[in-house]
């Protein structure tokens, strides 16, 4: 078994994820790309520049090659980089996607369809609502953009279709092109020729009904439409002939309250959709020797809970030596029990956590400072590496590659295997 460390590169995509893993094997280095996306306009270096850099990083003798491309879930901040012609020439063996992406799985297709159509309703709903606060508006806009993404501000790109097309049909490959694999939670390690010597554990997404519940978006009917003229049909189709205006005897304050609830219902719809999509995340752990690299995507509580309650996965996670901080460091994508009771509990020789983050709009709690502090407290000072604020050059095992404007472009570090 190889004894060289595993290389991890975190590309600074702003608000998004893009990780390249390099597993040394006797014949050659095996490469795994996990996500490539960004949601913040004005990514430090621009998403295209990142993709260009990345492809150059995997090119030997003029051939760009990645053994496995993983897309954890179809949020813009995880896949937008795949909407790029350059991928056409990249040789890829396998593409791993969550089971929800399987085109021949009717259940999966139905859930995806519901997500997309709910995003459309949400957009219509939000557009017709006056009275959302600035913060609420930003949140709803973020969710809509993250789910749908408007290409060139023109074509409506339903649920990141262009990027997903690359993942489903793009890349170059052997005779049959890249092989697509749709993964779900399983007790057995994944069998993959593309990664000899690497044990790949599938921790999510589950197919268990109780967990799938957390992947269901709300329905259009669940919006509480109570703002006069609000909703998707301002022409207000009514069931009966009516008299305009409020009747006598209507308690004061009731109209205002209902209007407010209508706003809250829209915001709840937005966060529920975001959660639903996040919970479709592929959650993987790569094990080589002593190293366990854990990538939970953006999974939230429901998907996490299964793994913390299952003794087998709990024990595995205790051995984590690299943790990709979930959902850009937001509070409920890294359960407190994971930090308090699981992470670093088996005291591996070296442990590191990487958070691909940046401050974004008004979301002052992403990343959650308290969480990052707790992580540092648990795994040690300078062991939590932020993409937007990497450690100074020269600190142990970490190197930063900066672009022309000295903005970090790529942060490299090593995960020892013994």
């Amino acid at each position: 078994m190889a004894t060289e460390p595993i290389g991890v590169s975190m590309y600074n995509v702003g608000f998004g994820d893009c990780f390249l893993l390099r597993f040394p094997t006797p014949d050659r280095e095996r490469r795994v790309l996990i996500d490539c996306g960004s949601i913040k306009r004005g990514v430090p270096a621009g998403t295209d520049a990142i993709v260009e850099r990345l492809i150059e990083d995997v090119t030997d003798d003029g051939v760009a090659r990645i053994d496995v491309v993983v897309a954890t879930h179809r949020h813009k901040d995880h896949v937008s980089g795949f909407d790029n012609e350059a991928w056409r020439d990249v040789v890829v063996d396998e593409v791993w996607l969550p089971w929800i992406e399987n085109p021949s799985d009717a259940r999966a297709q139905q859930i995806l369809h519901e997500m997309a159509s709910f995003a459309l309703s949400l957009q219509a709903e939000a557009a017709s609502l006056r009275g959302l606060s600035e913060a609420e508006r930003q949140l709803v806009d973020h969710v809509i953009e993250n789910t749908m993404s408007l290409n060139d501000g023109q074509r409506l790109d339903l649920s990141n279709d262009a990027a997903m097309a690359t993942l489903h049909r793009g890349f170059s490959g052997g005779a049959g092109g890249a092989e697509r694999r749709f993964l779900s939670r399983s007790p057995d390690p994944l069998d993959s020729k593309a990664l000899p010597g690497v044990i790949v554990h599938r921790l999510g997404p589950s197919r268990d009904e109780a967990v799938i519940r957390d992947m269901n978006p709300p329905s259009d009917e669940s919006f509480l439409r109570a703002a006069p003229g609000g909703g998707t049909d301002p022409g207000a189709l009514l069931p009966f002939p009516s008299t305009m205006g409020p009747p006598s005897g209507l308690p004061s304050g009731l109209i205002g309250r209902l209007e407010r609830m209508s706003m809250e219902s829209t915001v709840l719809g937005a966060v529920a959709l975001e959660k639903a999509v996040n919970n479709t995340s592929l959650m993987l752990a790569f094990e080589v020797g002593e190293a366990v690299l854990f990538f939970p995507g953006d999974a939230q509580w429901g998907a996490w809970a299964v793994n913390l309650e299952d003794e087998r996965t709990r024990q595995l996670l205790k051995r984590t030596t690299f943790y990709k901080v979930g959902h850009h460091g937001s509070h409920n994508a890294t359960p407190r029990t994971f930090v308090d009771e699981v992470l670093n509990e088996s005291h591996p020789a070296s442990i590191v956590a990487a958070a691909s983050v940046t401050t974004h709009g008004r979301f002052t709690e992403i990343p959650k400072a308290e969480l990052l502090r707790e992580l540092e407290h648990k795994i040690g000072q300078h062991r939590v590496i932020r993409s937007d604020d990497p450690p100074a050059v020269g600190s142990e095992g970490v190197s930063v590659m900066s672009g022309a404007d000295r903005v970090p472009l790529r942060i490299d570090f090593e995960v020892p295997v013994r």
Partner: protein
């Protein structure tokens, strides 16, 4: 008196004569959908129910004619649609055609029928509670909006004291059992109406149950709302008899009777839970522990109560079945004899009424705050022991079994036999110091005047009596604060308040009249606790006093708060903090929490009935898809 009544099965299990002597009306008979319009396509599911007669508000229309509006003592129907900013004309329930004709015919097409049904069903809930409690409910008039907004939702909204019902169009691609693009009205589903109205009544009985201090509080709200809704079906004998015939007397078979809100699927897991209540599926003792979402967790309680109901009903009809089968106990193929169906129906509806009454009566034995399912079990056992000491059909034993089988263990009860599940006897020092003799005289004086027509002189007397009652109780509580688990009274830092009091009069199985007083005390420490997401830590205690002023039961929720600052290591404080954390990590808003998500509102926002019902809808659809 009511023509048209022959066409409709009436609610005879709970009927009273429509007319009292001398032509004074005792009840209104009004038509409703027994379930909802979809099942209501069958005539037997369009029924008449009776609600106690009351005088309605009047108005004068443009032509100068005086007519009534559906606004009574407790409920006011106001038909405003906030989405379209319009309103609908109101039904005149006093018009002779309606008053003597049994009301408008059930139809989805006439908003006035919607108003009539809402009035009838909400008032039926009120009369169910009043009968079981043996006293009149008294609350600020609820505003009820049949068509408040568009959306698949309905809720009780405490801050405006209203019940809001939504309506929506059935989805064009996925209408379920409805027609595509058909209007669906939540106010026409009697289960939904009963459910929401029950929330409102619970809020009247225990207003602090809107404070989510542990995972059971909202689950209890939801469970009671469902329990009242399901048991209401047993008061529709025509419907019940059909179900008994269809299921061969085995009420545990799933059927419309046991399904809540069929058309709207309002309650998640409801029917699955009921099926397990009936022993079809294995009862999972870990379910309670694991389940978090209030409706799901509530369905564990619902299933416990139903399991006890089924067990009791089975015992009660065992002899009938033996008689009907010549001793074999095995019913053969073919229809049941109508006489047998009749008797089984009677037993079922009787048992149901008894269980429902007990669930409602148990409220008098619940703490003022922080209720748990375990508290409810102790309240049920205590209430029933007080009224029916001999428990002929083992209802009490069945309840205890069903709760324990579901992993619901009351905290603080030493063992699980019935007598140790009774609420504790008060400390010696309390028993030795009964309330002043004047107490019961003042209390009954106050209550007697509360409901009569009050003349000025009496009003003064009433105020006087009320003040006397309060100050006697307050003085007693101040003297015994520590013995009841409260901190010493301090007006500024840790005040003890009298939260409520009323008499409780009941007739036991043995015909004895019981008069007692139920009193709730509340203590709210001054210090605020920012880490509790806006929750206010409180202590509270319910005390039952017997007719001679001696305390009989003390039902405490203590909180250590020396000098008005809650002790972070106090048991209840720890549990509250833990629960708030648990909610935070499940709260999808929380990732985005910024300045806009005011920490003082976290818990209130997470536990708004409107949003709870919205969130659950997604999960429920998920389940339906999976089946």
């Amino acid at each position: 008196m009511s023509y048209g009544a022959t066409k409709y099965r009436q609610d005879y299990a709970t009927s009273s004569p429509v007319e009292r002597g001398h032509g004074e009306l005792a009840a209104r008979r009004l038509k409703i959908y027994a379930f909802d319009p979809q099942l209501g396509r069958r005539r037997k599911h369009r029924i008449s129910i009776e609600v106690p007669y009351e005088k309605l508000d009047e108005t004068t229309d443009e032509s100068g004619r005086v007519r009534s509006v559906p606004t009574g003592r407790l409920v006011s129907i106001v038909d405003y649609d906030a989405h379209a900013d319009c309103h609908y004309d109101l039904v005149d329930l006093d018009s002779p055609q309606i008053l003597y004709g049994g009301g408008l015919e059930p139809t989805v097409d006439d908003p006035m029928f919607h108003q009539q049904m809402l009035y009838a069903v909400t008032m039926k809930v009120v009369s169910n509670f009043e009968r079981a409690l043996g006293r009149r409910l008294d609350f600020e008039r609820l505003t009820v909006l049949p068509h408040a907004f568009q959306g698949r939702n309905a809720f009780f909204e405490p801050s405006t004291n209203s019940l809001c019902f939504g309506y929506f169009m059935a989805s064009p691609d996925n209408p379920g059992e409805n027609l595509p693009n058909q209007w669906i009205f939540t106010c026409l589903s009697s289960d939904i109406v009963v459910h929401e109205m029950t929330h409102a009544v619970i809020h009247r009985l225990r207003p602090h149950y809107l404070e989510p201090t542990n995972p059971d509080v909202y689950a209890f709200h939801e469970a009671m709302a469902d329990i009242v809704a399901i048991f209401q079906h047993f008061a529709f004998p025509g419907v019940l008899a059909d179900a008994i015939q269809a299921s061969k007397g085995d009420l545990s078979k799933p059927g419309p009777l046991l399904e809540l809100a069929r058309q709207f699927g309002h309650s998640t897991g409801g029917s699955a839970a009921l099926r397990s209540a009936a022993g079809e599926a294995e009862v999972d003792p870990g379910m309670y522990e694991r389940t978090f979402e209030p409706h799901d967790r509530g369905s564990v309680l619902v299933s416990a109560v139903f399991a006890a109901f089924f067990a009791t009903y089975t015992t009660r009809v065992a002899d009938l079945i033996r008689l009907a089968t010549g001793g074999t106990g095995l019913l053969g193929e073919g229809h049941l004899h109508p006489d047998l169906v009749n008797r089984l129906t009677q037993e079922a509806s009787d048992t149901a009424q008894r269980v429902l009454d007990l669930c409602i009566r148990a409220f008098d034995y619940l703490p003022p705050i922080d209720v748990t399912f375990g508290d409810f079990l102790r309240a049920l056992v205590t209430a029933d022991t007080e009224l029916n000491p001999d428990d002929p059909y083992d209802l009490r034993a069945n309840l205890v079994d069903a709760f324990l089988a579901r992993g619901i263990h009351p905290e603080g009860a030493f063992s699980l036999n019935e007598s140790s599940l009774l609420w504790d006897e008060p400390a010696e020092a309390l028993i030795d110091d009964p309330l002043e003799e004047e107490f019961f005289a003042s209390l009954s004086g106050y209550e007697a005047q509360r409901w009569g027509s009050v003349k000025k002189k009496q009003l003064e007397r009433k105020q006087y009596d009320r003040t006397r009652v309060s100050s006697i109780l307050h003085a007693w509580a101040v003297a015994h604060a520590t013995e009841m688990g409260l901190e010493p009274h301090s007006r500024d830092d840790c005040p003890i308040r009298v939260r409520g009091f009323h008499t409780m009069i009941g007739v036991g199985d043995d015909g004895q009249l019981l008069t007692e007083a139920v009193v709730q005390f509340l203590q709210t420490p001054k210090a605020t606790m920012p880490e509790l997401g806006g929750l206010t830590p409180r202590a509270g205690v319910t005390v039952i006093f017997s007719g001679d002023g001696t305390p009989r039961y003390v039902i405490p929720k203590p909180l250590r708060a020396p000098g008005g600052t809650p002790d972070p290591d106090d048991d209840r404080m720890r549990k509250m903090r833990h629960f708030v954390d648990d909610c935070a990590r499940r709260d999808p808003h929380f990732a985005w929490a910024g300045e806009a998500y005011d920490p003082r509102l976290h818990m209130t926002k997470r536990f708004s009935f409107a949003l709870l019902h919205q969130e659950i809808e997604a999960a429920r659809r998920g389940q339906a898809d999976g089946n």
